[in-house]
Symmetry: C2
Subunit: 112 residues, 2 copies
């Protein structure tokens, strides 16, 4: 793809993707939910360092972008669970490549 | 990879990667430079919407992370050119996957 470096149409779709997953948290939340549906507190625990306020905002944004779903169960008290949608799941390869690159980036910055 | 959903070590490397390319601009700048080395004004033109101040800051950060190189040529007046390093080039697959996902995300949000 980088052979098409600078191509304006390709840049547009990369920009679309970056806007949907902007910031340092969204992809980490999606990664946590890719294992199984989870409750708010569980996500907050796994995504180390995120505040409740930020997590709440990010979850709303991810829901609006149809990347996750919020389900309320009629228990007492009511249970709320977040799960990843097929569209969110389709970010799998992006997460894969970020993971691999993150590993090599860490090595590079420790060695040098 | 998503079968390893939530794995703390994988989350760490994704976090490393996200920190290095944080924000909406860095990957777009790298994509512009992946075609060939470019001068400041050329990058500013291709990465639509970025201000000179932000571009200057992002270029410094990318250089510090060894993702790009800044070369000054002894011409009159001096010429400054930015080029992508092999390490920056190794983000190719991340850009690929973001590009493909961005395309499908756009379709999904237009259709629905």
């Amino acid at each position: 793809m980088l052979s098409k470096g600078g191509c304006p149409k390709t840049m547009l779709s990369i920009r679309d993707a970056l806007e949907a997953v902007e910031g340092r948290w969204k992809l980490l939340i999606l990664f946590a939910l890719s294992e199984k549906p989870k409750r708010f507190k569980q996500i907050a625990k796994e995504v180390n360092g995120i505040t409740d306020k930020t997590l709440s905002k990010e979850l709303k944004n991810l829901e609006a972008n149809k990347l996750i779903r919020r389900d309320v169960y009629d228990t007492f008290p009511p249970t709320v669970e977040y799960s990843i949608t097929p569209h969110g799941m389709s970010l799998e390869k992006v997460l894969d490549e970020l993971h691999f690159w993150g590993l090599s980036h860490r090595k590079k910055n420790i060695v040098k």
